[in-house]
Symmetry: C2
Subunit: 253 residues, 2 copies
């Protein structure tokens, strides 16, 4: 592994003076013990830009930087990939957000199922998932982060995020009772077209949800005969999509 | 989801009287509250056979069954898939064993890296991973379980488990610094031929390990430009391999 320059996320990145606070300041000053004159990379996942920066001063709970001119982020997924994910028990959704960010999802829709165990979902949960996504983006080297939608019922998610089939997009609903292999559906996915995956909660989709998915234009597909935990499906299908891509996920590649 | 009959693992499955003890007995009698006359499926992952069985008596800490004639397990991976996995910190290897079992690995080799954080590895760890594999097999509906090898250095694992290229097998070493996409390597993998994946520990492979891999016939491949955690790679590559298969993983399909 080539040692890489430290990367930290910021908001509203622009040329010139910049202040890190909170966890990010502590991460730079205490965990990595950087000090005045050290250089790092700051990235703004919302604007998908990044910049080299130099530390001007390390204060008690803040770090002052001087950023050079921002440039478009070099590493970001080249395909739009939406994951509609049934919210599981406990911190399963945290793990899914982390995995999905590493594996190139560009939008995550936390979905409430008929059989959802964890409800209601407070607004704080979505904010937590957004923070996890930004941290995972930092760790995996992405210049963007997936958009985290507010939690909504599966039926609404299917309607709002069904991909445009006319543009080569594919909406795939992971359903162990289907006999259509996902690999075959992948082959119909247009180059750079959007892929949308829907993954049920523990216990799988209710029949009414599968019907809603099909009505919205989703295809029911399977990864095989084995019954996967909901938190395993995400990494498996996103990994499969990455493997399908001929070349790496660098912008413009 | 179709409700399925309860499945429990046993050793030395044969026709006739059978006794469940320990956790398995508690699982049947207390968690699922089955009683005399109830039916379930017993499977022997080592022999890859299963049988219908009827409960004869539920005792204090044991359950007596009568098994019908064993038959070959109906659901098992059709391809040999070996995962050579760098042992990570804490319980990461537990999660990898669980994911790999669900996603069809048939052999798992816990590997000690130059940079391995967790060492030495006691014999108890491998036994623990074997129990986790059997439990994951039960959950996902597999009739077998992956063989868990004793922990060994990566160099030894590369030599012992390099697949026979002449038979269409492929040995793939996941290396983020490679520019060879894994999808291209998959296309050279023969139908039903063995696939061997090597995944480094946190921080990736040491250069000497990558050289050992190449000397043993492994190809360095990548899933893309993003840096994955070691425990994410396993699900991503095994999911990709499943997606490649045209049909489901039922035996004889």
């Amino acid at each position: 592994m080539i040692p890489k320059r430290l990367r930290v996320p910021v908001e509203d990145l622009r040329f010139g003076a910049l202040k890190l606070t909170g966890d990010t300041a502590r991460y730079v000053a205490r965990v990595h013990r950087l000090s005045a004159g050290d250089r790092l990379v700051v990235f703004d996942p919302a604007a998908v830009v990044e910049a080299d920066a130099e530390i001007v001063r390390v204060g008690r709970d803040e770090v002052d930087l001087r950023a050079e001119a921002p440039r478009p982020a070099t590493t970001r997924p080249r395909r739009g990939v939406t994951l509609i994910q049934g919210i599981g028990k406990g911190d399963k959704m945290d793990a899914v957000v982390r995995d999905a960010t590493e594996l190139g999802a560009t939008r995550i829709v936390p979905a409430l199922a008929e059989r959802s165990v964890a409800r209601p979902i407070g607004a704080g949960r979505a904010d937590r998932w957004r923070r996890i996504a930004v941290e995972a983006a930092r760790q995996c080297g992405r210049g963007d982060a997936p958009l985290i939608e507010p939690p909504m019922p599966f039926g609404e998610a299917f309607c709002r995020f069904a991909p445009a089939a006319a543009l080569g997009g594919a909406g795939l609903c992971l359903d162990p009772s289907s006999s259509a292999p996902i690999g075959r559906a992948f082959r119909r996915l247009g180059q750079d077209a959007e892929a949308v995956f829907a993954v049920g909660p523990e216990g799988g989709f209710a029949e009414v949800e599968l019907e809603q998915a099909v009505q919205a234009g989703f295809e029911r597909v399977t990864l095989g005969a084995l019954v996967l935990r909901t938190e395993t499906v995400c990494a498996a299908v996103l990994g499969a999509l990455l493997a399908l891509e001929h070349d790496a996920t660098r912008a413009g590649a």
